[in-house]
Symmetry: C2
Subunit: 446 residues, 2 copies
């Protein structure tokens, strides 16, 4: 199959557009089918501003396709978490070392840039195009565009059409396709903190703000226009839940009491609350990712919850790894496809697992004394032995050359060691006297 | 909703027909939509004979609807496992106490009886009817029968349309529906041991025959016509697998070497092997089972692998439990539906888990010395304290009043105790000297 020349991509989202750039640059005839209209024409400024956290794993492929400078202009670095307690008091926890940060970026803005770049590279994007059927034996996609059916044949099909992938839906009814979709108990709703009267940011702009409240939380990420997009994560049902917020008073009282310093900066709270949907949070796992010449990537094969900020980053990493395998095997897709799924599946499983556990950490543990001490000890270990004891969050977020699965493995070892350390007598008073060298050495022993 | 009068059932299989009997008898207007033609007219004798193991949980509802005598005539009791080793030598392990047995029964025969009984009770079965859409808000099913579309409205919809349920497929795309389908590495193929020249059974007819071979196995269940239906369970890929059985010689050598005493009784082996499909084995888990007035039951909500012989039995138990809840709540479905799913889900999860683990036991452990001793000690405990130490298999198979989830819980406790017992010094020589009373007492301590 070294004569492969044409690739069909389902979905012109972040991942579909990026893989489109890579493949068009490699000389493939790339056609992308996107069910939505062209967001660049409709004027996306009118809609809600949704932002994502771009970190090292996402940066790498963006640099590789030469978009570093353009993306640099779109980001706001966030060097750590700013935690807001119920009285409005703040604590700051840096994410990594001096100079390390994750970056708030507009989803729409980045997507538009990637689409345009894919087109420049030669890819054709067909908008308003609904996939009706996929024939995996023939590698054909049947679509409907503007009411007219069309059939498209290509050498390879890439399904990058998101968590509710239509390509995957057709794979799911083939024999021996393992699949799961699991929703957490919590939903989310986007809200807003607008810019101040003089166009200034009303909270520290270089932080990811968190109002952790045990079973739920509010977060806020900065936008380029000096506003913040806030997201409330709350259970659908139960004592403190969306189901309990029925009247305007319920909503106002909840925010006034639980998030006082955010509340006073949210003049459009009620409007936002009623207008924006309450959305659910799903984890999708499946295998295989390959059926004949069709491959699933990004959310289509491994949709994860957003709590590690790695959804987009892991999808971009898929693109980078796929491109590297095409280099390695001289574009022999018969070798690339099976190797891709075999190599990437453990990494997708690892970040999926980490994303679920980080919700507990964000909403609950960040206010816990033992947790904070544990982080302090780990930070000290990192400071003393920066090549040996790298905290899990740093491995996932800043060490882009390390596989997710390896980060998880090392993180689990660290956790076992730290569980023991935390059982030391009077640890809260005496932690500075710990033998840090011997703690770090235990990593090697395992 | 106490004025509910009409119920639509998707699927006229074993479970759909049985719940049809229950509901028609309760006075509901019952219509059943079945995609296949009427098996009673096509002459199912022409097809393969597939048999199932009917045990106490399945018997209970069949008795409840008054079919005991008719079913009695259709069964062949199997009092235990007849294990065949590679030399053709036999060992017999009774399933329970004197008089306890599981029962081989023809799937087709039982299904036909249940359909006829449902019709007698007033249910109408529409054959050749494909479901095209379900509207959960309106409780309407859109079907196509003989090329003509029809729309059907009812107060309640019951999806009993099996492991690949169409009703569930529509539930799956509603928000917050948790779903997983997982295939094991093994597939199965049905084969046959015909009756002898004089119409006699060629193996002991009152046993379930097993040829356990570590990673794979052959089993055989008796039919009323003195034949046996055999099932080969084998990995799809790998060293010993379906993928390795390419030529007729491969097949013949495999059977001759691994199952010699079965092989010599299988004159149609090659014909069967080529003619019958290699089928996959799926576990389906999902939740919720209820969407507005639509309920999933049987394989549609909890398809399991066949290794505990509980697929049909658990589906029939669903029917009995649903009927009992209708009694309890005076046919108030608003109470019945949520209570049903809440009560049954842990039981479905338990039998799903047990069915997967029993594959290991059947194919592998039944030939293991430690396993056999463990079974011997447990049998002794059961003999001495029949009200206290009931082996897990007996709880699942013969104690129909005990919930699956409770059987699993007690079984796990027994396992922990037996793990300790098996670590006693010289256990193989000295097991008769164990203090059985104190072992049984540990059950109460937990």
């Amino acid at each position: 199959m070294s004569s492969t020349k044409s690739v069909t991509i389902a979905g012109a989202g972040l991942v579909g557009s990026l893989i489109g750039i890579y493949l068009a640059r490699r000389g493939y005839k790339v056609e992308i089918f996107e069910k939505r209209p062209d967001m660049r024409q409709k004027g996306m400024e009118g809609g809600r501003s949704i932002n994502l956290a771009l970190s090292n794993r996402g940066w790498w492929p963006l640099k590789e396709v030469g978009l570093e400078n353009q993306v640099q202009d779109m980001i706001i670095p966030m060097a750590g978490r700013a935690m807001h307690d119920s009285s409005g008091d703040l604590t700051f926890q840096p994410y990594g070392k001096e100079g390390q940060a994750i970056n708030s970026i507009s989803r729409g803005g980045l997507n538009a840039l990637l689409m345009t770049e894919a087109e420049k590279a030669g890819a054709v994007i067909h908008f308003n195009c609904t996939i009706e059927h996929i024939d995996f034996d023939q590698s054909t996609i049947s679509c409907v565009k503007d009411g007219k059916p069309m059939m498209h044949l290509s050498d390879v099909i890439i399904g990058s059409d998101g968590a509710f992938s239509v390509v995957r839906k057709f794979m799911q009814i083939t024999d021996r396709f393992n699949y799961s979709q699991h929703y957490i108990e919590h939903g989310y709703k986007e809200l807003s903190i607008p810019a101040g009267k003089n166009g200034e940011f009303l909270l520290d702009k270089n932080a990811l703000h968190i109002w952790p409240r045990g079973n739920y939380m509010l977060i806020a990420l900065p936008n380029k226009d000096a506003s913040f997009t806030c997201t409330l994560f709350l259970a659908f049902e139960g004592e403190r839940s969306f189901s309990q917020l029925k009247t305007d008073d319920d909503i106002l009282n909840f925010f006034r009491q639980d998030f006082p310093d955010a509340f006073e900066r949210m003049p459009t709270l009620l409007e936002d609350f009623h207008h924006n949907p309450t959305s659910s949070l799903v984890t999708v796992r499946c295998y295989p990712w390959v059926k004949n010449k069709t491959l699933l990537i990004g959310d289509a094969s491994h949709a994860i919850v957003p709590f590690y900020g790695q959804g987009m980053n892991s999808g971009f990493e898929d693109c980078r790894v796929l491109n590297a395998l095409l280099d390695k095997h001289g574009d022999n897709w018969d070798k690339v496809l099976p190797e891709f799924q075999k190599e990437r599946k453990p990494d997708a499983d690892a970040i999926s697992h980490l994303a679920l556990s980080n919700f507990i950490e964000m909403r609950d543990l960040v206010g816990d004394e033992n947790f904070l001490l544990r982080k302090k000890i780990e930070a000290r270990l990192y400071e003393l032995y920066p090549e040996e004891w790298i905290p899990l969050y740093s491995m996932v977020t800043f060490k882009e050359e390390l596989r997710y699965s390896e980060a998880l493995r090392q993180g689990e070892t660290q956790q076992r060691i730290m569980d023991e350390v935390m059982r030391s007598p009077d640890i809260h008073e005496r932690w500075m006297d710990l033998d840090f060298r011997s703690i770090a050495d235990r990593l090697k022993a395992t």
